[in-house]
Symmetry: C2
Subunit: 645 residues, 2 copies
């Protein structure tokens, strides 16, 4: 028998890192992916096309050309149609999950074409737009979504672009009067779109009837900008440079009356504005509705990218060697507690957020009876998932050192993608404010569904010497929402009723952190509640156990992060607070033997088009010098065998 160079402890950890139960992974695949499983193989097969091989050191033009080519290839595969909004709404989000594994720029161009452009058409069209819509799936009508203006990123209802109705000619005249009113960050705008849906203040007979949307041709058949349309390229960005973001200005551009998307509001042939919706602000929310599904599309992209980065960091850490007890570089860094404590709580949290997102996907497909929850759930999920994506990507990059700094490692794509997700389709922080406004409004109507606690932490838990059991932890997470709601309503009552302060002042200048805390408490509760409910239904007992361990670790993480709050408010005892640290450390170790079950449960295809060289044979890859030659990295690291020594 060969004597191990490892200590028995290290040896045991290294062995546990090679464990894999494929049945558990199979069960997890079906839990983590919330749609028809048969779809996955089709997407994976599509990505096997050589077009999806990663390429670096490209000019803007080249990056955009390849993103478009990939989008066209995706469109041609017909794995998604805008009519799925009606027949198979979950397929929209599934498409985003899949595309994000491959290329964030491609996924973003897709989301604009199919959700913002195509989805708006589906939502706001009438019969007269059907022929136009039939050309969207194929990209014959390639679209952009002219909503945001330079000066109105967070206050779009005040946008300046106008659509003035010319009764004589039965045309709308679209005009952006100022620099601040130029349509800004318009994806597909700089290069590829020939049509835009333009949002504009609609003036009929001199009266502002609120924001409506209009189909406006922006490029002719030679792809030259149409008369009156100025298109400027926004140039280089911090990432996702395959996206052709443009600035668009409209100078008295005329479109026929019928260009207006008129499902809810219309101008009749005789020039009358008609709407069943009385208030302009209500009309705005109706026509800007795509931003809501847009938030879920971003969540889909982010959760998928998060799993990809965890896969990369963990697989790399399983084969990357550094100093062992022998002093030699013989120990996979994943065996270090340092690496485990950095990565595995994020892995656990990502599972919970994945399940929370899955519930939102269900809600999106079928909101019946829970319509009042849709807005806050979309905001909550986008917030948590995109912030988590940023954190995971940052930590994964750091824990992979130089190996994670190369472009071919792909980890940085998550940093760039998450930053886009965090502030696109509504700045996360502003969405958190929206959640609280929504909750407060529902509270007044007695509509806010509070979490079902099985115990009241404030009265019962302080007596416990440990709060590390799942039930206590769950109650603690839920309790935060309950307590924050109580606290914020009392504060508002006091400041506004008793001290006669203005709502705006209190909201914007005094309780900002309270608002963020409540919104986060709600969001975390939502994700946890749904993760628990999904996990409860899992029939594979081993997979159920893995999920339970992950959920518990996630809860420990949440309570640990807010420990000051729980202790200062006397919700748990100092003794239980002290005990928490050891329970947390052990909970991380408890995940180690399940790492492969979980990572394989992510079901990320093992093709060189998607998988970076650092999770394959990165030594072989480094025998040559072309970072685009990912084939050189050969096959995939066999985690059941452990690292090559």
């Amino acid at each position: 028998m060969v004597e191990s160079k490892y200590t028995p402890t290290t040896q045991a950890i290294i062995s546990s890192l090679t464990k894999h139960d494929p049945a558990v992974s199979e069960a997890l695949k079906n839990v983590l992916f919330n749609d028809n499983p048969s779809k996955v193989a089709k997407w994976h097969a599509l990505f096997a096309d050589p077009l999806f091989y990663p390429k670096q050191n490209m000019s803007l033009d080249e990056m955009r050309a390849i993103a478009y080519k990939r989008l066209k290839k995706v469109a041609d595969a017909k794995l998604f149609s805008i009519y799925d909004f009606i027949n198979d709404p979950k397929n929209l989000l599934t498409a985003h999950e899949m595309l994000s594994l491959c290329d964030g720029a491609l996924a973003t161009k897709f989301t604009v074409q199919f959700n913002l452009f195509g989805g708006t058409l589906i939502a706001l069209h009438t019969d007269r737009h059907k022929e136009f819509m039939s050309k969207v799936d194929s990209l014959a009508h390639m679209g952009c979504f002219c909503f945001t203006e330079l000066g109105y990123g967070n206050n779009a209802v005040e946008m300046e672009t106008t659509a003035i109705y010319d009764e004589a000619k039965k045309e709308f005249v679209i005009n952006s009067p100022t620099t601040l009113s130029q349509k800004y960050w318009i994806t597909n705008g700089a290069c590829h779109a020939n049509y835009a849906i333009v949002f504009a203040q609609t003036l009929v007979k001199g009266k502002n009837e609120g924001v409506n949307s209009f189909i406006v041709p922006i490029r002719d058949e030679q792809m030259k900008p149409c008369t009156g349309v100025t298109i400027e390229d926004m140039g280089w960005k911090m990432g996702l440079n395959g996206i052709d973001n443009g600035k668009l200005k409209f100078s008295h551009v005329r479109v026929p009356r019928t260009a207006m998307l008129n499902k809810f509001n219309d101008v009749t042939e005789s020039g009358e504005f008609k709407s069943d919706i009385k208030k302009n602000s209500q009309r705005f929310f109706k026509v800007a509705d795509r931003l809501l599904s847009g938030r879920l599309c971003i969540s889909a992209m982010c959760i998928s990218g998060t799993k990809m980065n965890l896969l990369i960091a963990i697989r790399y850490s399983q084969q990357r060697l550094s100093v062992g007890a022998s002093g030699l570089s013989d120990t996979p860094i994943m065996a270090y507690q340092l690496q485990q404590n950095a990565l595995l709580p994020l892995l656990a949290r990502t599972i919970v957020l994945n399940l929370g997102y899955n519930s939102a996907k269900d809600l999106f497909a079928n909101p019946k009876g829970r319509e009042n929850e849709v807005v806050r759930v979309c905001c909550a999920v986008k917030g948590l998932v995109s912030w988590n994506y940023e954190k995971v990507s940052t930590v994964c990059r750091e824990r992979c050192g130089g190996g994670g700094y190369t472009a071919h490692a792909r980890i940085h794509e998550g940093i760039q993608g998450s930053h886009s997700g965090m502030t696109a389709e509504g700045d996360n922080r502003v969405l958190m404010q929206k959640i609280v406004k929504d909750i407060l409004s529902d509270l007044q109507k007695e509509l806010h569904r509070q979490p079902q606690m099985t115990r009241c932490p404030e009265r019962q838990l302080p007596k416990q010497e440990s709060v590390g059991d799942l039930e206590s932890l769950m109650n603690l997470v839920y309790y935060r929402e309950v307590a924050e709601i109580k606290s914020i309503t009392e504060v508002l009552q006091k400041k506004i009723m008793e001290e006669s302060k203005k709502f705006y002042d209190v909201w914007m200048h005094e309780i900002s952190d309270d608002i963020q805390s409540l919104a986060l408490a709600f969001s975390e509760r939502y994700a946890l509640e749904n993760a628990l409910s999904i996990a409860a239904k899992v029939t594979d007992l081993k997979a159920k156990e893995v999920l339970a361990k992950a959920i518990r670790l996630h809860c420990l993480l949440l309570v640990r992060e807010n420990l000051g709050w729980y202790l200062a408010n006397g919700v748990i005892s100092p003794k239980a607070g002290l005990a928490l640290e050891g329970e947390y450390q052990q909970a991380v170790k408890d995940i180690v033997p399940h790492v492969n079950d979980i990572i394989e449960g992510f079901n990320i295809p093992k093709i060189p088009q998607l998988a970076p060289p650092i999770i394959r044979d990165y030594i072989k890859f480094n025998e040559q010098s072309d970072p685009d030659n990912v084939e050189a990295a050969g096959g995939f690291f066999d985690f059941t065998k452990g690292p090559k020594l």
Copy 2:
């Protein structure tokens, strides 16, 4: 009188954001910059050269060419010489601070040429190398530092490259036998270096005498790789692509005996290895010494970039308008508590870390009597400053929304730069381990200087209803180090002495978070202690007050972040814990009227070469489409007048 559209509260905040006392800024400039103030103007003048205008959408070749041209321009300005290591050591760090304002790739190429390459020569040369060294300042000898190998990122002492002494020919034969032994991430290697300092296991008469360094020509006069030297380009990275990182392999490359840098170790003419240092491991630390100053160089780059990003985010927020009480977009977002709570604690923390870094700069220039502290201080400062740079850049990007996502906004440079800083010259987390080993070793020798507490928090503070005064807060921050030292020594005692566990097992598998906590506690104490001591000497009373407010906010931030620990351990009372939140919120507000004093105190030149359009007239900039045309953004935003409406 025109009625304000703002509420009186908002109006007061907007007014306070226009306050500026130039005398305070002047005083702060002298506190925050720890070198001869006359140097600054020379660097600022240099950057006014058109060569330093930002450029985007470049190929790798173009990015590298411009970084080299800039480096040459900097070298020609003769603001730094490698002989400053002897005569004016602080000038090395000053140069890094200045260069980082301009271009991270330039600064990195500079640090390799002047600190790693030039500094090693200064540290390890003898008379025979003087002529060679005279060509470094001008870049006639352009160098790279072949230290890290692909397989030995964190265990360099085990590097595989060998320098075998051939007695007959009086030559060393340099050889990298495997793929893992290729020199990796070698800055200046892919394009511009004609010489390398190569570190290698030195074999003389068949005996490994440990790692030494050798001057090796790697390119001939036509810049073709020399015989036996294989150079491969590492390609695209997550950022800093102007750096030409290469992989270098040496195949039996011969250099004369005199190529060895022989200050400490030598091979005599008669072929004997000589050294006053007995152990190979000690020899390693002696020859790898430049990594230590390298950590301060990285700190210099990071602290400077941090200030730049805070400047960008805050100035943009002062002029960027969003929704006000009127519903219109008329309120600068810096007036929102949301923006203040996100940015101002980071501003306060950056001041403290800046002062901590300044103390390390002094220690570097004159370590006399404190030699034992140098290693841990360099590690501590690099860790805190580079992590803070990452956090600040991430938050600034997020708080600037789309405005911060454009490349011309420059904020993303901080994300890319900080990631490089976090794991280069030693992974921060590994450096934290080094700090603790260092402290434990000094404790045994009774050499570790513990912080001077004025009160013992554990006994006295729990009685206080508030710990928000600076003295209590300082004691709390210091106490964490004292308590963590006590805790870790007890744990090690118990596990190793009583439970007979192996040190490696305990260190790597059981107490990872404890190690990190102690290292951070030490690092935070070091920064705070020095910030307090520097602030105490400031004579301008108003500047002193601003510093006091910033330091207090920073302390509140630290205690708030670790509130769970303080409460669970009974160091402060739940009542004081609850009170902390209000004190923290107020401390942020207290910084608002000093924002301009602080930002101007950063002394960042107002030239379009460095200042992104979003802090000038970004509306004017958006009237045109060329992101390279920064001139279009015109003059600088006048913060004393507030935003244009």
